[in-house]
Structures are given as structure tokens and as C-alpha cells.
């Protein structure tokens, strides 16, 4: 068997039937897109920096996100962009007590921790994290073991050749979608071997991470190739640079573009949407779910009386 055939064969083996996604104590069926609300415990994230740096403000944000229909909360203590070092100890200090507070307030809420270091992940899982959102594509391979140890879920992402907290510089791919699929399926396979529950594994093409705007648009256009693998797909696109560049829109002006990408992703079968704007995202997803026929209208009376 030649290499290409072997690769095709291996990829086929890594596919799975779309099924239940388990997060925390919840089971989510396909056809019900989930909103993952972003709450950053940082002073310097790219969008609305410092908004939830204060812990009480962050908790208020959680209350609002839950009220607006968030299914998952994603808490991060380290910005993705380059900047002052955030040590493991500092990351844990920023995030772990907060996750404990959220867990106490919402025993059933799915909590995701945006981290890439296994030492942090271990502390955050102990604090109540259900899902390790590893945006940096297993830079630390021990994350999967932590997920397995705590029965947590794991996000398997693609960043090309990036290391954490660096910016892409002239990334190039023969086929970016194939590169993404190969990487995330490899990580998913490794995670399963490490003992992570396959029903708790999510794949994320990671728009903008290690990609230029053309690459992120291509991933969006061909998202059905990712969803066809059967693994639940996470879309993290909220207010990102590829939206800004595509529309010529500054940071404060990317909501419409974000929702357009969200709608296309939902139409093509992505299951989790990481979002700053929970209410708007929930509405966009509900609308798409009803267009797909997965969700009945809230109320249909017009012309039926």
C-alpha cells in the first residue's frame, strides 16, 4: 500500500459517527449547537481588555452569560497574543479560585478552561473544570493525561507551526484544511489512547491561529470536511482578525461578521461556538437550527389561524 492510500485508510479509521457529546454531567445530541461564553481573567485580552479582570465583574458576566443562554463557560487566564509572561502559578491564581466560585454558584454549568499547560490544567480540573480548551494544539502533550485523569474533555486544535503566545508569520499550507484535519485527528487519536473519553473530545480548526485570513476563510468555507469526520467541531471566531480584515472592520465593529461566520459554521454542522456576545450568538444559532429543521420555531402562528 502506498503512502497516500495508507493515509486515507488511517484517516477513515479515525472518523466516528456523529453522536452524543458529553461535557460535565451533560449529554448533548447533534443538532443542538452550543454557546461557549468567554470570560477572560486577564487584564489584556484582545477584545474588551480587562472587562472581567475584577473577579466580581467576571462573576456578573457569568450570571449574564447563563441568563442569555450560554451552555458552556470558557475561562482563560492567559491572553493568546504575545505579552508579559504569565507564570503557571499566576495563571492558577487568576483562574482556579474563580472557577471554584462559578462551580459553587452553578453546580451543573459546563466549565471549560482555556489553558495549554498541564500543571495549570491539573489545578483547574481540581477546581471544577469539565473541558480543557487547549488552543495551542498539544504544545504540552501531557494535557491529554490530565483530561483522562480527571474525566474531563479535551479540545484538539490546530495551530500549524506556532508555539504558545506567538503570532503567525507567513504560514503556508499545501492544503490548509487537510493540514487541520490531519492534526486534529492525530491529537484526538492520541487523546483516546491516553484514556480521554472519546465522547468528550472536541476538534477546533482554530481560526487565525497559525493562519492568515485566506486560510481562516478557507477553513470556514470547507468546514463540512471537518464536521464530516464525525468529531464535534468547535468554532472560535468571535471578533477575530480574519473577520476584521475581511470586512475592513475595527475591533469594535466585528459582530455582524462574527455572526455571519457563526451562521455558516452552524449550517455546516459545527457544534460549539465560542463567543463574547452570548445573546446574539444564541439567536443566530437558533435561527440556523430552525432553518436546518433541527429546532421548531419558538412560536408559529402567522397565517395559521
Amino acid at each position: 500500500m502506498d503512502d497516500v492510500a495508507a493515509a486515507v485508510e488511517q484517516r477513515a479509521q479515525l472518523q466516528r459517527a456523529p453522536g452524543l457529546l458529553r461535557l460535565g454531567g451533560h449529554e448533548f445530541a447533534p443538532g443542538r449547537p452550543l454557546v461557549m461564553a468567554i470570560v477572560n481573567r486577564t487584564p489584556d485580552s484582545f477584545y474588551r481588555p480587562g472587562l472581567t479582570w475584577d473577579e466580581d465583574a467576571a462573576l456578573d458576566r457569568v450570571h449574564a452569560a447563563v441568563a442569555e443562554g450560554a451552555d458552556i463557560l470558557d475561562v482563560g487566564g492567559v491572553p493568546a497574543k504575545p505579552g508579559p509572561e504569565v507564570t503557571v502559578a499566576e495563571e492558577i491564581r487568576r483562574v482556579a479560585p474563580f472557577i471554584e466560585r462559578v462551580r459553587a454558584a452553578y453546580p451543573d454549568l459546563v466549565i471549560s478552561a482555556d489553558t495549554w499547560r498541564h500543571e495549570s490544567a491539573r489545578a483547574l480540573c481540581a477546581a471544577g473544570t469539565d473541558l480543557i480548551n487547549d488552543t495551542w494544539s498539544a504544545w504540552d502533550p501531557s494535557l491529554a493525561e490530565v483530561a483522562a485523569e480527571f474525566g474531563a474533555g479535551l479540545v484538539c486544535s490546530h495551530v500549524g507551526t506556532l508555539t504558545p503566545r506567538t503570532r503567525p508569520h507567513r504560514p503556508a499550507f499545501a492544503d490548509v484544511v487537510a493540514d487541520v484535519i490531519d492534526r486534529v485527528l492525530l491529537l484526538a487519536e492520541r487523546a483516546v489512547k491516553a484514556g480521554v473519553d472519546p465522547d468528550r473530545i472536541v476538534i477546533d480548526p482554530a481560526h487565525d491561529f497559525g493562519k492568515n485570513t485566506w486560510h481562516s476563510l478557507e477553513i470556514t468555507r470547507r468546514l463540512s470536511e471537518l464536521t464530516a469526520t464525525g468529531w464535534p467541531v468547535l468554532m472560535s471566531v468571535s471578533h477575530k482578525d480574519f473577520v476584521g480584515e475581511t470586512l475592513g472592520a475595527d475591533l469594535g465593529d466585528r459582530l455582524a461578521g462574527t455572526l455571519a461566520v457563526t451562521a455558516v459554521g452552524a449550517w455546516l454542522g459545527a457544534r460549539i461556538f465560542r463567543a463574547h456576545d452570548v445573546r446574539e450568538t444564541r439567536q443566530a444559532l437558533d435561527m440556523v437550527a430552525s432553518i436546518r429543521g433541527d429546532r421548531p420555531p419558538a412560536r408559529a402562528v402567522r397565517a395559521l389561524a
Binding site: P296, A298, R299, A300, L304
Partner: protein, 236 residues
């Protein structure tokens, strides 16, 4: 002979699932269910469902409402229906019979909207004599011009028309039903007129109660969405 008769309206929103996640007009649904329960309690040999259709004709008892015509996303994935789809009024009537699990004989009679009163009365008489014990479910909506947001916009003549129909039903005044003006009814989008007049014709034929008075009860009468819905039972 007619052993029991009922009037129900036939808005699509009575079909299960068609209003989405919201339960719309639960009181109307409950009233229709109660009316049908009384028909079935009379132990009929057959339930005849009469209602407006494009033409006056019987329809296949195996027919069903084409829910997908109103809500394509609700298209059934099961086998194709064995009979042609029923017109709306008869299809809703069928669903009302299905709801309590009725599996006995049923007959569907469509009546054209333009059918004159005399023809409707004669059709009713024919329905009444189809079996020793016939229950009649007359599917008929009132006017659709009860408010500015009504499907047919506001017509000041609509409310008096509906009130007259309700009064006639309450009083079991069959001649008042027989005298309803087809042209005015059509103007007001009161598509139930032929069905009500068939009911009048059916109840005017000899029935087990002899010449005794009909027991009538109005279970619902309102126009919450601008269309007049009347639910009533008339038991000999």
C-alpha cells in the same frame, strides 16, 4: 340518524407541532377535544366529518392532512400516504378524531364553499341517514375579519354575523342556520357556513330524541387571532 353532532373550527394551528415550541390556544384545543369526546360517547356506527372543500365530494377515509403543505419541516419520513391528502377542514377533523385514539369507521364529506343552502341541507340529511347511529363533526370556522390584525382585516359586519351564528347554535335554531346568507358569509371569509348548514340539515331529520329539544352547549366562542372559532355540541 344523528346521535350526536359537534361544531369545531379548522385552523392549521390545531395540528400538533405546527405552532413550534409554543402551545397556542390550549383552551380551544381542550374544547375541541371535549366536543369530540361527546361525539364518541354516543357510540356511533360512523363519525361523519363534513367541512369546506374545493368541490362537494366524499374523500377517502384513509386520507390525512398534508401537514408538510403547511410546515415542510414536519414532513413525515414514513411511507407515502396511501390516499390523497384531505382538504384542511377534513384533515383537522381527522386529527381531532385521531387524538383520543378513535379507530372506528369514519366518513369525510367535502362541501364546496359556493354550495347553496338548500344543497347543504340536503347533504346533511343524506349524512344523517347513512347509518343507524351517525355522529356528525361539522368543521366550520366563523369570519376572519374580526380585527385590524385579522387575516381578512376588520369588517364591522363580522362580529354581528358570528354572534348570530352562536345564538342560533345555542338555541338549536336550525332554521336560522339554514337562513345564513352565503354571499355575506363568503364576504366575511366565514368558510364554515356550508358545514353549519349541513349540520342543520342533518339535525332536522328524525333522530332518537324524536321531536324533543336538542341539548346544546357552546364550549368555546372567541376570535383571539381575528378568526371566529366556535366549538359546540348538539345532542338529540
Amino acid at each position: 340518524m344523528i346521535v350526536a353532532a359537534a361544531i369545531c373550527p379548522s385552523p392549521p394551528l390545531l395540528a400538533s407541532g405546527i405552532t413550534g415550541q409554543a402551545e397556542i390556544l390550549p383552551e380551544l384545543r381542550a374544547a375541541c377535544a371535549a366536543a369530540v369526546a361527546r361525539l364518541l360517547a354516543a357510540a356511533p356506527d360512523v363519525v361523519a366529518v363534513a367541512g369546506p372543500a374545493d368541490a362537494t365530494a366524499p374523500f377517502d377515509p384513509a386520507g390525512e392532512l398534508s401537514l408538510a403543505s403547511y410546515a415542510p419541516a414536519l414532513r413525515s419520513s414514513g411511507p407515502l400516504p396511501s390516499a390523497p391528502a384531505l382538504p384542511l377542514a377534513l384533515g383537522i377533523g381527522g386529527l381531532l378524531l385521531d387524538a383520543p385514539g378513535y379507530q372506528g369507521p369514519r366518513a369525510y364529506q367535502g362541501i364546496a364553499e359556493y354550495e347553496p343552502a338548500a344543497a347543504c341541507l340536503a347533504l346533511g340529511a343524506k349524512i344523517a341517514t347513512a347509518a343507524p347511529r351517525v355522529a356528525l363533526l361539522a368543521m366550520g370556522d366563523g369570519t376572519a375579519r374580526r380585527s385590524a390584525s385579522a387575516p381578512g382585516y376588520l369588517d364591522e359586519r363580522a362580529a354581528p354575523f358570528d354572534e348570530a351564528v352562536e345564538r342560533a347554535v345555542r338555541a338549536a335554531d336550525l332554521s336560522a342556520l339554514a337562513a345564513l346568507d352565503p354571499t355575506l358569509a363568503a364576504d366575511l371569509l366565514a368558510v364554515g357556513r356550508p358545514a353549519w348548514q349541513s349540520l342543520a340539515g342533518a339535525l332536522a331529520t328524525p333522530h332518537p330524541g324524536g321531536a324533543g329539544p336538542l341539548q346544546t352547549e357552546v364550549l368555546y366562542s372567541d376570535a383571539p387571532l381575528g378568526v371566529a372559532y366556535l366549538v359546540a355540541t348538539l345532542i338529540p
